[in-house]
Symmetry: C2
Subunit: 291 residues, 2 copies
């Protein structure tokens, strides 16, 4: 059997799956109920133990917010998990479950999930982008998750899209996230990002300009990624999927505006299909790839 | 035996190598002497035949300027080869030599050459960037050349580094090549790029500002590539290697200026080592990978 855990700022999800990746049981709870590393690990291990029905769980992958030291399985200082610093997640989970533990970036695993069972099925090379309060991503290269030399590939939110742009909270000017991240949009407009997108959908002119501007900047990142990486497909996940009809036309139009990217090599742009489950599905797939 | 061909705007090179990639014989000539596809193919096939000493040459790779239809082995319309349009290079070479022919982008093969026998030895994930009149590149992923879904990965010169920047000849505004490519620098300053770099080396203030500005924009592309792709190493080849001490400090300083790229994951930046031979070495390695 395989296990998957998706550790988010709002929810924690656990899945048990057959060794071919088919999900058998999924459990979720509020992160606020298991808010220390020790509590979260105890809860997840107990759920896994209760649902394995006597079978051995050999391999468990957990997706967590970066930055992560993937080689040591340590969560460094995830911005959405207050008080979690240098948490040795791999060794804690290994002790609690007896399984081999694989810690990975949540956006990487969401991309892997979409690749195997969502919008990316049937492709070989795709870029997954999660567009919510922050911007992250995951790269699939020749049918496999590519994590880079230090496990930090896919940090698409910190590509520079305009060096004269606003200062990002990372300290760098003109990051994609500074233009598109929900937190930054909220700060710039004084409205929560979800409200801004709703107002734009209702036809509010000012909100529309802001949202389309953000989508245009995202589109420029798609151009740069297409030239650097030549994917077949972009899959866009995260909160923005709820405003897909607002952003999709601008994304595609911006990509089409690049004369260097001929139609024959222009990637498709799709909305993620697995919703909140992409990370959990990806965790199971990552456990499967590393069993 | 393996064969490699490097077809450039100035020179054509041919190599014969053992099946482990060790070079045995190299031959070069001026492109102007074999300036039609038919002449070039005849010359290369004759040189290969003369130097194979009775052995069979099973696999030959040829690096050529893009754009290339890699699946069909067709050169579409290389800007530096006047009058070459939709040249079916793979089928022509296959008929002339009887070998399996693999056509690839020249910058991809230069990157592969540097990876196997040059500045990239010992790494697993690297980005090669050729910085000359134009800007190109090649990606090595987990020890292999990654060409993307349509064989056009590594078109680093057309990443957007500043959407308000100058118009590139590709028709897009703010491409890396528009800021750094030798042709564009020459157009902007009214001096050939080689002269400009020489003047900067001599200490000319105005020339220095231009060269350092170009290196700064290249450095921003390195930041974006590091965040997207997380390589261990950037290898910089092309004409700029002759002005390495001028550009290297700015490249490294710009990369270091990114607070999101912590020292532990900051890629090294090295000058290419194989000079004019990187493409030919890479062609032999590509023939070896596909034999």
């Amino acid at each position: 059997m395989l296990g998957g855990i998706d550790l988010g700022g709002t929810q924690v999800r656990v899945a048990l799956a057959r060794s071919d990746g088919r999900l058998l049981t999924t459990i979720k709870t509020k992160t606020s109920l298991v808010r220390t590393p020790q509590l979260m690990v105890e809860w997840a291990a107990a759920e896994i133990d209760r649902n394995r029905h006597g079978q051995k769980v050999r391999s468990i992958a957990i997706g967590a917010p970066g930055p992560i030291d993937v080689s040591k399985g340590i969560l460094v200082n995830p911005p959405n998990l207050d008080g979690w610093r240098n948490v040795p997640l791999a060794s804690m989970l290994s002790r609690a479950t007896g399984a081999n533990i694989h810690v990975a970036n949540d956006a990487d695993l969401a991309g892997l999930g979409e690749f195997h069972q969502g919008a990316g099925r049937g492709t070989r090379n795709m870029v997954y982008i999660t567009w919510s309060t922050g911007i992250g991503g995951g790269l699939i290269v020749d049918g496999k998750l590519y994590r880079g030399a230090h496990g930090t590939a896919g940090e698409i939110g910190h590509m520079i899209v305009d060096p004269n742009g606003p200062l990002d909270r990372c300290g760098q000017r003109g990051c994609l996230e500074a233009f598109c991240g929900g937190n930054n949009l909220a700060r710039q407009t004084g409205h929560p990002a979800a409200e801004l997108f709703k107002e734009a959908a209702r036809g509010d002119k000012q909100a529309r300009i802001v949202v389309e501007g953000a989508a245009h900047h995202m589109g420029m990142a798609l151009i740069s990624l297409t030239n650097a990486f030549d994917p077949e497909l972009f899959v866009i996940g995260g909160g923005v999927t709820h405003s897909w009809t607002l952003v999709q036309p601008t994304l595609v139009a911006t990509l089409k505006s690049s004369p260097f990217i001929k139609p024959a090599r222009r990637p498709r742009v799709r909305r993620a299909r697995l919703g909140d489950s992409s990370g959990l599905v990806g965790a199971v797939e990552w456990a499967r790839a590393n069993q």
